[in-house]
């Protein structure tokens, strides 16, 4: 089996603060890989570096054999991503969001239409394809984002907390598609989550990151065994401790609050 993602000695510093501290891991092609850690552990920072939107301070990354700092376009063609926060255009319809994505990824028009139908049917949104995304619920948006991330047939799918804030039905559906993709279409999946029970159920391999360092990796079973815990959640607590982590509110979070106030007033 070949490696879809290779990370060697990766570091990201923000001034004096070390967000990611000399981490190394590999993700085997076709596997579902869970990247676990408490808030502020460095999960999202790592995903940003893997997906070309953040420059590493040092270290080496290969995604599908390409270096995100040098071969940005090859890397970008190789992956699809569902971000932690929504990244849809609310003022467009679901079908238009899909079409725009296809155009950005140079998928031919006829193929775009065909795949949009297939994928929207897969996530159960085909009937609502001409509705504006602003009318969608959180769960529908997430399903649409999963469908969109698959439109250009990526080799690897990044999911940053794909099930956060969703009801059990939607969570089950989403993991259902992800399993299907992995097993039937051999898409490699790299996800983060805070739901250890989900990670235990779907991940082939996991790595636990804390304070910017990888503290454990292996199969969920091997982690439970090495920590002598019955559940992955207990194993996770055993590895990362009981202290509650505070994450700084990002500028984006603060602005989202403002945005609601501003938008409402219809200011230009």
């Amino acid at each position: 089996m070949s490696d879809m993602i290779v990370v060697q000695d990766l570091v990201k510093n923000y001034g004096d603060f070390c967000a990611v501290n000399h981490i190394s891991f590999t993700v085997t092609a076709g596997k579902i890989f869970g990247f676990l850690g408490p808030n502020g552990a460095g999960k999202t920072t790592t995903i940003k570096m893997l997906t070309t939107v953040l420059e590493p301070t040092s270290g080496k990354i290969l995604v599908n054999g390409h270096d995100p700092t040098r071969d940005q376009k090859q890397v970008r063609r190789s992956f699809g991503i569902v971000f932690q926060d929504p990244s849809l255009d609310d003022e467009l319809t679901a079908a238009e969001n899909m079409d725009l994505h296809g155009a950005l990824y140079a998928v031919p028009k006829s193929e775009r239409v065909k795949r949009t139908q297939e994928l929207l049917e897969l996530v159960g949104l085909f009937d609502r394809r001409n509705d504006f995304v602003k009318q969608y619920s959180g769960g529908m948006k997430r399903r649409l984002e999963v469908a969109r991330a698959l439109l250009h047939r990526p080799k690897v799918l990044f999911l940053d907390e794909p099930t956060i804030g969703l009801d059990p039905q939607t969570r089950n559906h989403i993991w259902g598609y992800i399993n299907l993709l992995s097993k039937e279409h051999s898409v490699t999946v790299f996800f983060t989550t805070h739901y250890m029970e989900e990670a235990d159920r779907v991940a082939d391999d996991v790595a636990v990151i804390d304070h910017g360092k990888i503290v454990a990796e292996g199969t969920p079973a091997s982690l439970k065994e090495s920590t002598k815990c019955a559940t992955l959640e207990d194993a996770f607590i055993a590895l990362t401790g009981h202290a509650i982590r505070d994450e700084e509110a990002s500028a984006t979070d603060r602005m989202r609050m403002m945005g609601r106030a501003w938008r409402g007033s219809g200011r230009r």
Partner: protein, 248 residues
């Protein structure tokens, strides 16, 4: 090219779909047009300077364009906030294509808004001397749109959130509008004000528009075009550069 086209089309779609924004953006220019255009008309005519309503129309059109264009550029902040920016930044297209698509889309939107303001001016009594010059006026409207969308894009790439927006409007866009020839003629001004007018790109934009719409040019068409083209190119470059430096 495909990316530029699709992002440009997206801006237009969003604009056409929010009639509230279109109508809302007409409010400010209309208030200026009616209050100043009719309010100062008698004084202006008594001073022997002609029809003030006709004089001020190009300035009001420029105003409509400037505000819409800066806002279109600054919309990057909204897209950052609502997440759509990420979708474009991880796509296999260059930042330059993204920024060109955005700026072009924003500029076209601003130009349409300028046309809407112009139609309002026609309804309230503006007299166009030579319809054949209308294409020249459209060129100037597009250049003003391009210049200010580029400025908005540059600012939107640097600002992290919307908190700085009133700062931009009150300390950049408003002064650029008021310290130009939009509302008053250039002759007989105090030296400092006259100097400010000469350094202000809006002055050249309004002058070009005014000339094309049937008044005398204060400079000449070549100077006006030259200043706008060169400044638009410079600001578009700065905007593209700053946009290329955005990290998530």
């Amino acid at each position: 090219m495909r990316a530029i086209y699709i992002l440009c089309a997206r801006q237009l779609k969003r604009y056409v779909r929010s009639p509230a924004r279109i109508v809302g953006s007409l409010g400010q220019p209309i208030v200026f047009l009616l209050a100043l255009g009719f309010g100062l008309g008698a004084t202006f005519a008594k001073a022997g300077a002609g029809n003030y309503f006709n004089f001020v129309t190009p300035g009001i059109v420029a105003m409509g364009i400037m505000f819409t264009a800066v806002f279109s550029g600054i919309e990057i902040i909204w897209d950052r906030q609502f997440g759509f920016l990420k979708e474009t930044l991880v796509a296999p297209v260059s930042r330059l294509e993204i920024v060109l698509g955005r700026v072009l889309g924003g500029a076209i939107v601003a130009m349409i808004q300028g046309c809407a303001v112009f139609i309002v001016c026609l309804i309230f009594g503006f007299r166009l001397e030579h319809w054949a010059m209308l294409p020249v006026a459209l060129v100037f409207m597009f250049l003003i749109s391009l210049l200010f969308t580029s400025i908005g894009t540059a600012i939107g790439s640097v600002l992290q959130d919307m908190q700085g927006f009133p700062l931009v409007m009150n300390f950049l866009v408003m002064p650029l509008f008021f310290f130009s020839d939009a509302l008053f003629p250039m002759n007989g001004l105090p030296k400092a004000l006259s100097a400010a007018l000469h350094l202000n790109p809006v002055t050249y934009g309004v002058d070009g528009l005014r000339g094309a719409l049937g008044h005398a040019f204060a400079f000449n068409i070549a100077t006006d075009l030259g200043v706008l083209v060169v400044l638009s190119a410079i600001l578009l470059s700065i905007g593209s550069y700053l946009f290329s430096k955005i990290q998530l």
